[in-house]
């Protein structure tokens, strides 16, 4: 049920002469006619960014790239890992010692976990110091906070999977700390453990949370986070002259409003109400 007319085919006498390039463009055009994907990609990729955007703004992408590495190495490690109390540690020893490049992939996953925590905190510190969490980007910060929580949960659940004495007791302590939360704490601890004590169910439960539940949540909230970043644009750095002038104007207006005892806000004043700005009141009258 075609409701859209087909576009005119591109004439042969214009455009690139290279047949390989022509074929490639043909594929892109075919997909674009049916999805509009280039519009979306341009909207996402080619945004205007404020003066003063620097390497510090690349930390968010770095966190995403490290997450990608964790996902890929994790999927591969799951091909050899056996999540049972009797086989878990032996299978990890097998990965590390016997499987070709197993030491490398496991090392990437293990150290990548630490790298991800570090990068995520640096990213959060950058956003905090730049003041990029302010209006209208509060929800970007909120989804980022959820992503931080889920990243930490990945660290907790992944640490147990090694199933050696250090992993076991460190996670026992961490889950018992979770049980300290008022009212819901004991429930949360029991739900995490799958019962009152660590056992075989705990290992498979942590494995499921680590490789299915939280990665799905991270992917979802990362998509929302990226959409918001793309929609709202990158915040100007705090030393931006334009931003400083805007903030100074706002402060001035706020102070003037306070001295005149009239309401001040971002939203326009509804019709029939006195305008908040005394300058504008004089101009209108």
């Amino acid at each position: 049920m075609a409701t859209t007319e087909r576009p005119e085919p591109t004439p042969k006498n214009i455009g690139p002469k290279n047949p390989a390039v022509q074929a490639g463009m043909g594929v892109v055009d075919y997909v674009d006619d049916r999805t509009g994907v280039t519009t979306g990609a341009k909207w996402f990729m080619f945004r205007n960014i404020p003066r003063g955007t620097s390497w510090f703004q690349t930390l968010g992408f770095t966190a995403m790239a490290v997450f990608g590495m964790q996902a890929i190495t994790g999927i591969m490690l799951a091909m050899y890992y056996k999540p049972e109390t009797t086989t878990a540690h032996a299978s990890i020893a097998h990965i590390t010692n016997d499987v070709t490049w197993g030491w490398l992939v496991r090392g990437m996953h293990k150290w990548g976990a630490s790298v991800m925590i570090v990068i995520v905190f640096l990213h959060m510190g950058r956003v905090f110091i730049w003041g990029a969490y302010k209006y209208p980007r509060e929800l970007t910060w909120l989804t980022g906070a959820l992503l931080l929580f889920m990243t930490m949960m990945m660290g907790l659940t992944g640490y147990l999977l090694v199933w050696d004495q250090k992993a076991y007791w460190a996670t026992v302590v961490a889950v018992n700390i979770t049980s300290q939360a008022p009212i819901v704490g004991p429930y949360l601890g029991n739900i995490l453990r799958g019962g009152p004590e660590f056992g075989p169910d705990t290992l498979s439960r942590f494995y499921s949370i680590h490789m299915l539940l939280i990665p799905g949540g991270i992917a979802t909230f990362m998509a929302i986070h990226l959409f918001l970043v793309s929609k709202l644009g990158i915040a100007e750095p705090p030393w931006s002259k334009r931003r400083l002038a805007l903030e100074r104007d706002e402060e001035d207006a706020k102070r003037r409003a306070a001295s005149e005892r009239i309401p001040f806000g971002r939203t326009p004043v509804p019709a029939g109400q006195p305008a908040p700005d005394p300058v504008r009141v004089e101009a209108d009258s």
Binding site: N176, I177, N190, P196
Partner: protein, 229 residues
Amino acid sequence: MEYEHTSGAPSESTELGHYQGPRAADPEIPADHSDDPGYQTRTRFLTMVAVAMGGVMTAAILVPVIGFAVADSVQEEDWRWVDVGPYSDFKEGSTTSLSVTGPSPEADRRVFLRNRDKELLAIWNRCAHLGCPTKYSAGSDGYVCPCHGGAYDSRGLVTAGPPPRPLDRLDVKIVDAKGRRVPYEAARPVDRVLVGKAYSIDAQERPFKLHPPGDPVDGTLSYLFPFIP
């Protein structure tokens, strides 16, 4: 520019002056019951049905799944009386370390049977701070935890460190060959020692329901949690 009024009919002032041309009569708005917010139209009814059906279908999936994932986890641990040997194995004045099978062999769950001061105590080795395994040290005649330095005396009462309450205990009883309970003073070497349900104690050794590690059994917080139904 001035326009003269040609009749007494009311005219409107616009930016261009007074309009006096023909006017469209205000059409009479037909009464439509769908404009009444209280009237149930087919669209409103079907929207409500669709939302309700979606809710029912979502619940039909989520309720069993969440119950499956959670319900068994929040039950209390099973327990039973376990025969740990004849009374002659636990000499007067000794503290014996027993391995107790829990759900996980890594848990290193142990019970220390303390037969002293005319009393038989079964002390659980789970630290009351955050659940690490404590170790009995005969030299200091007390229990020490390797994780955060919690220390207990030989009865399991806190002497140092962060634990908020003494070590948990297990019910213990001595029974004769016919399974009848024997008081401590009348125990013979052939009588059997049985270890049972775990419970928590406060600093005065009063028994309380078993608490998870880290929770005090007395004070205001103990009324807030654990909120075990």
